[in-house]
């Protein structure tokens, strides 16, 4: 197996030594096995030209201007940076330490208006650890705080897209979706039955749509009503965590009735209604390894979910094994889906361009293509394999360190 390419360690020095700032921000990766969704596709011996943090050109026949620093990938696989979904990156340090967790609230006046963009911590040690899995961006989503059992608030709040670039202002785009959990756990928050849950949701939507500025329905605050307006206008997607096939059908109907733009998340039984989801053109965020009949919501959970959905024409994005510490495992999850029938290229796409499209940033990221940000990972093998490691990671053209708090601890004790 190919080890870390020594050439990369010289990049920072080369940049520092270059006189012209424009030249400093231009470099090329040559002799790369390009593996990307989009028009460039798979190229055995490709070149990427990066200028000012963006991809200027990519493909088999890319001329590298003279004097531009080149990185010889020596045939290594090069992919776009991975985009994680269903994360709490930047909002979480130690799960059991409440003070280090900012992805949920029990404030009774804040539901739909909860906004993760204000809780982000760029210094979180989880960020470099996720990044070492080739993850360059993440959708950060709110969760529910169920400590107040009296609270009947259906929405968890607004999600954001962040960059995992070192030292950067990590917020990339706020308000990329509104979180709502339905099914067994969702029903428990609003009355204990699905039959109440959907009635109440419809009431909230009706009232929120009609609500004048100074009135608001149920326990929703004025801020919450305002937060729902873009959802009702169809400009902000409603991300619905749901598991059972019948619930998914109800959600599709709700979306039709209210002309909502929706994204399904979890969706363990989605394979059973794959054609209906495809017909509604609704994308799905899944973890293929969620194949346990963990409750009566997901008795049909299956490792085949990803491949069946994709075969039916559903757009899927594949996430990691928890919201924070195990985000880096998302690429293995795509590999496991591939082992159960998902086409390999679809596995790569489910980690990159698919999440970019689902969250409305496919014009900026998700593939190696001219005009997009230079979010690039060079790997020492097949990126879906656990034996493979990244050898270089660029976010918006900036090379990232290949270290984390965990690798530093390992270095201290490894003998």
């Amino acid at each position: 197996m190919q080890r870390r390419l020594p050439v990369f360690t010289g990049i920072a020095l080369a940049l520092a030594a270059t006189a012209s700032p424009v030249a400093a921000q231009t470099f090329a990766i040559t002799n790369a096995h390009l593996l990307t969704p989009g028009p460039v596709g798979e190229v055995q011996n490709g070149t990427i030209l990066v200028r000012d943090g963006r991809i200027a050109a990519a493909g088999a026949n890319v001329a590298v201007p003279s004097g531009v620093r080149t990185i010889d990938a020596k045939g290594a696989t090069v992919t776009p940076g991975l985009i994680a979904v269903n994360t709490a990156l930047g909002l979480l340090e130690v799960s059991s330490v409440d003070g280090s967790v900012d992805n949920k609230t029990h404030n009774s006046g804040i539901s739909a208006s909860f906004d993760v963009q204000y809780g982000l911590n760029p210094a979180s040690t989880l960020i470099p650890i996720a990044r070492l899995g080739g993850v360059t961006h993440a959708v950060v989503m709110p969760d529910y705080d169920d400590s107040d059992k009296e609270r009947e608030l259906p929405f968890a709040g607004k999600a954001a897209l962040i960059s995992l670039g070192e030292g950067a202002a990590i917020l990339h785009r706020p308000g990329v979706g509104m979180m709502l959990e339905l099914g067994e756990d969702g029903a428990a928050r609003i009355g204990g039955s699905r039959a109440a849950e959907f009635v109440q949701l419809r009431q909230i939507f009706d009232l929120a749509r009609q609500a004048p500025r100074d009135e608001y329905p149920f326990e929703l605050s004025q801020a919450d009503v305002a937060a729902l307006k873009p959802v009702l206008a169809g400009t902000m997607p409603l991300i619905v965590v749901v598991h059972r096939a019948a619930d998914i059908q109800q959600v599709l109907k709700l979306a039709r009735d209210y002309k909502l733009k929706i994204i399904l998340s979890g969706a363990e039984e989605a394979w059973r209604v794959a054609d209906e989801i495809a017909a509604a053109k609704v994308p799905v965020l899944i973890n293929p390894t969620s194949n346990i009949p963990a409750n009566f919501d997901m008795l049909g959970a299956s490792l085949q979910n990803a491949s069946i959905l994709k075969a039916a024409g559903v757009e899927i994005a594949i996430g990691g094994n928890d919201a924070g510490h195990r985000v880096r495992e998302m690429r293995y999850n795509a590999g496991l889906a591939v082992s159960r029938g998902l086409h390999y290229a679809a596995g790569i796409e489910a980690l990159t361009l698919a999440p970019a499209r689902i969250f409305g940033v496919a014009d900026q990221m998700g593939s190696i293509a001219p005009g997009k940000a230079a979010d690039i990972v060079i790997w020492d093998g097949d990126p879906l394999e656990p034996l493979t490691q990244p050898t270089a990671i660029f976010i918006a053209g900036k090379e990232q360190p290949l270290t984390s708090r965990a690798t530093e601890l390992g270095k201290r004790y490894a003998r």
Binding site: V94, V97, I292, L303, N321, Y332, G335, T388, Y413, A414
Partner: protein, 488 residues
């Protein structure tokens, strides 16, 4: 989040003669790993009487496991990771009468044996999980099924996980699809002494006795750190701190030693034909006394390096040996201590940060420990991970390489085969492909450290219990019958 209140031990009482016989084999096979259960008793100590008079003569809840009918079978042409540190390319594994008969590059296949074409494929010993809660925390995870933690008292050495196991847990089948042939099912980790664990063979069954691994020793689950102090401190009772936990352990071992002396004294009198009343049995102290005698293996849930070092000293103080630290995410900081005390580690590669004592968990843990000579197992503790312990091991291999430690695959396969078998005290019976051992074998579609590898054929005692080419072998538990279940 996945529950982490798990970890414990408990094999069934093994006849002493059998254990002695095993000991010799185990030491030969295991070069470098810890000795078997009976070695915990100093060699110069005379063996105690056959059975304490206070205990009933027949072992209760005895295994009724019966191997399934097994055709004589040869897997030919595969790459074989034997679990003994060897890789054989284009080799043959021959199984007959439920046992491994021969493994090698030049094995003659007897007439009449079923021949399986293994070309392009890989063979390993059956995967073994040294830390599972299948059946005691089954799926669906409803309150009516939550039977893994007797968490109303920190001292529950008297409970046995096997009395909670629901054999219809559908996850047993999913684990089998991941190549898992044996597992140690432990009580949870809410208590200082969680109770006895039980080793089982991963076969469809209606009763737990039908699954119990024949001849496996019992184990005792102990737990340090955040779980017990969190559980009881929050209720205004001991232990509320780590020092409270250690005090609790020490007090319990003092009681256990006294109980053991009383039983021994009675047995000696009884053997001399003197009268006297047998001490009343105490199920909890009986288990702890079994540990002090070396009959019951200690499986200690413990995360932090400093805590493990303290627990080793508790063992020294009271004369018991810890078979393995479980989770042990900071074990990489004390590899030398673990080598010196010949203690195994059962851990993950990927889980970290879910609580304070897991904050320093690193993917390199297994590789650092392996290099230092510690017997390491990659365990699951959960329902999803048990289906892909091979992938988790690959993560650990890769992390080692990143840190400059190259653990070869023929060594790393021990993390999920021979070493967990050693932790469970069954390494003389399974865990590697060696003549005479149980024919617990997996045929993989690819190299088992690939994410794409599928366990195509799984053999337990030579019987084909799962064959991806034969839907008839896809067992559904009673719970799944009539439900809208999908493929694994």
């Amino acid at each position: 989040m996945t529950r982490h209140f798990s970890d414990t031990i408990s094999p069934a009482r093994t006849p002493r003669a059998v254990r002695a016989a095993l000991l010799g084999t185990t030491l030969t096979l295991l070069a470098g790993c810890a000795a078997d259960a009976s070695s915990a008793r100093p060699a110069n100590t005379p063996p105690p009487p056959a059975e304490p008079a206070a205990a009933p003569a027949p072992a209760p809840f005895a295994s009724t496991y019966q191997p399934r009918p097994a055709a004589d079978t040869a897997i030919v042409g595969a790459s074989i990771l034997t679990g003994t540190g060897t890789r054989i390319d284009n080799g043959t594994v021959l199984m007959a009468a439920g046992k491994i008969i021969a493994v090698g590059a030049d094995v003659a296949v007897p007439l009449g044996a079923r021949v399986i074409d293994g070309r392009g494929k890989w063979v390993t010993p059956g995967i073994i999980d040294a830390h599972s809660h299948l059946g005691v925390f089954p799926a669906p995870g409803v309150q009516g099924h939550a039977d893994g933690n007797e968490n109303i008292d920190p001292y529950t050495a008297h409970v046995w996980a096997e009395h909670s196991i629901w054999p219809q847990d559908p996850v047993f089948t999913k684990a089998r699809a991941g190549g898992v042939t044996s597992l140690l099912i432990l009580p949870g980790s809410a208590n200082l002494f969680g109770g006895r664990g039980v080793s089982v063979k991963n076969v469809p069954a209606v009763t737990v006795q039908q699954m119990k691994f024949p001849g496996a020793p019992y184990t005792l689950k102990m737990a340090c750190g955040e779980n017990p102090k969190g559980r009881y401190g929050s209720r205004g009772r001991a232990p509320a701190t780590r020092m409270g936990e250690v005090a609790g352990f020490r007090r319990a071992w003092i009681d256990a030693a006294e109980y053991g002396r009383k039983v021994d004294a009675y047995e000696k009198k009884h053997a001399r034909g003197e009268g006297g009343e047998a001490p009343k049995r105490d199920l909890g102290l009986e288990t702890l006394a079994g540990v002090l005698k070396g009959d019951i293996l200690v499986q200690n849930h413990c995360y932090r390096a400093d805590e493990m070092a303290v627990m080793l000293d508790v063992g020294h103080e009271f004369g018991y040996k810890t078979r393995a630290f479980h989770h042990a995410v900071e074990a990489y900081k004390i590899a030398d201590l673990l080598v010196a005390d010949d203690v195994c580690v059962a851990t993950w590669a990927t889980r970290w940060g879910f609580k304070m004592e897991a904050y320093d968990a690193i993917e390199e843990n297994a590789a650092i420990l392996s290099k230092a000579g510690v017997c390491v197992a990659i365990h699951s503790d959960e329902q999803r991970l048990i289906q892909r312990l091979n992938v988790e091991s690959a993560v650990a291999i890769a992390a080692g390489r990143r840190a400059g430690i190259d653990i070869p695959q023929e060594e790393a396969i021990k993390w999920i085969t021979l070493n967990p078998a050693k932790i469970m005290g069954i390494a003389d019976k399974t865990g590697s492909l060696e003549p005479g051992k149980m024919a617990d074998v997996v045929l993989w579609s690819k190299n088992p450290f690939s994410v794409y590898a599928i366990a195509e054929k799984v053999f337990i005692d030579g019987a084909l219990v799962l064959d991806t080419s034969d839907p008839a072998t896809r067992y559904r538990s009673d719970f799944e019958i009539g439900q809208p279940v999908g493929e694994e």
